[in-house]
Amino acid sequence: MKNHRFRTIVPFLFLLAFLVGCGQQAPQQNDSGVKSHVSQLDTILKRGVIKVGFDTFKPWAMKDKSGKYIGFEIEVAERLAKDMGVKVEFVPTKWSGIIPALLTGKFDIIIGGMSITPQRNLKVNFSLPYEYTGMSVIASKKLASGRTLASEFNNPATTIAVRLGTTAAEVTKNYLPNAKILFFDEESQTIQELLNERVHAVVASNPLPLNLAKEYPEQLYLPFKEDFTREPIAFGIKKGDHDYLNWLNNWVLVTSSTGWLKNRYEYWFYTNDWENQIQ
């Protein structure tokens, strides 16, 4: 009996020792891989395809009637690929797992409306920001009517739903530390909770709150006139690849200077011309 147990345990110990051992080796191998001047840029050019990681956020990226992806980010990715002279392949990924997926090489770049945060920056490199986004609050008329100040939401009796892993989650923790916060995996679930009148408010990046207020004027309202954050949005790539980062930074500079980025942003965020493509 004991004999068997001993034999079973030993391989597990080996496994454990191995995993711990990896902790010391892996980063070095990673570094040396980059130092040998194989930029991800070359890999993409050789492959002829750039793989783009993103998650669906309206109107950043969403599916149209025929199942094709459309949206601001999709256009940015397509333009980027065109300027690079390669094809684009979209890899839809759950938001909470998007950085690990980038690090393990599931795609070459995150173009997903990702705002720069110091915590994220510890794991990935960011390009220059190509756009800015703001956080806003959308509240239930029945549960939280008449509130216009942040302090009115910042109490333990208030429940707020946010999407896990987004900056909305972090911002809510910072701005409304006393409120009870519920974390969901999908934006649709937070909205469902709000419409079911189970939470007082949802914090999300614009224009989602704006659109929701228009869509459900009977039930929902915008308590604050202005966005309470202004966050830089940038491309996320693996760490330590200067050639690639340099190319992306200059792409942002050039494309901004021609006004193309601003033009597309206004199209997707301030007009409803694209609505008939998805309904």
């Binding site: 980063p27 469902q192 009148e197």
Partner: protein
């Protein structure tokens, strides 16, 4: 005991040597695959950042970290669900064996409905559709969903256990003039209990693991705490290995307790 003397004096059989070799080869292959995987990954392991999520020692003494708090919620939910699972399972099993057409039909419908739909959908249905109407809290929505799901499986285990009792036992009880409830209580269930213990253990282990799904309705259980730490720190692999190890420890402990129970019951053979 590990018999070192026998091991080293060449009295081990040839077949066990071959078995050991095969085992080592398989384990070697697994290790080789893992090495290959982690090398390609180039992942930056940061295990040293994990302990503070268990507990931190401050001026007021030990403060429990999110992982321990999450484990507490998971244990709470599974403990209550386990009791309800046994009650629901037992009731359904007995309903299915009564002469009443209505009771049999209800039990059957419940079982088929639950066993043939995914648990995740059931959790969403109870949380997003039923709970707002009936005013159920998220915590109880999770418990109701879990115990209903596992209860359907438990009922089949109970039924198998009860029907496996020899017909003579029923006849003897009847011969002694016992009614149905007395027969169940004194004759059938004590024997059936011993037989259903092993399959019921795996059902309880399933319950512990399935409870991870309640994290989708924003309950701060172990999985949800893991997801939140992951979302903030991106220590993906370290966190999920740790969370998996905690689940493993809980389920192994559970199996261990049942092993002791089994030994005790087998000592008093009828």
């Amino acid at each position: 005991m590990f018999d070192t003397r026998r091991f080293f004096h060449g009295t081990i059989r040839f077949s066990s040597l071959i078995d050991t070799t095969k085992y080592l080869v398989v384990m070697g292959c697994v290790l080789w695959l893992l090495t290959l995987g982690t090398n390609r990954l180039g992942y930056n392991w940061q295990w040293y950042r994990i302990p503070k999520y268990f507990w931190t020692v401050g001026e007021q003494g030990v403060t429990w970290g999110p992982l321990v708090q999450g484990l507490g919620v998971t244990l709470q939910i599974t403990a209550i669900s386990m009791v309800l699972m046994l009650v629901i399972g037992m009731a359904t099993a007995i309903f299915r064996m009564t002469d009443s057409w209505a009771a049999r039909g209800t039990a059957r419908t419940y079982m088929e409905l639950i066993r043939n739909t995914p648990l995740l959908i059931q959790i969403f249905f109870i949380y997003f559709v039923l709970a707002p109407i009936l005013g159920i809290s998220p915590f109880w929505a999770a418990i109701i969903a879990l115990s209903l799901f596992e209860g359907a499986y438990a009922s089949e285990i109970f039924r198998a256990g009860i029907t496996s009792i020899d017909k003579g036992q029923w006849e003897a009880a009847q011969g002694l003039g016992m009614n149905a409830s007395a027969t169940y209580r004194y004759i059938i269930l004590p024997q059936a209990f011993r037989r259903v213990l092993p399959p019921m253990t795996s059902q309880a282990v399933s319950l512990v693991k399935d409870s991870a799904l309640v994290s989708t309705i924003a309950i701060l259980d172990l999985t949800q705490q893991g997801r939140m730490i992951d979302a903030e720190t991106f220590l993906t692999f370290e966190i999920w290995f740790t969370v998996a190890a905690i689940y493993l420890a809980v389920t192994l402990a559970l199996s261990g307790v049942v092993k002791i129970l089994e030994k005790r019951f087998n000592g008093i053979k009828p």
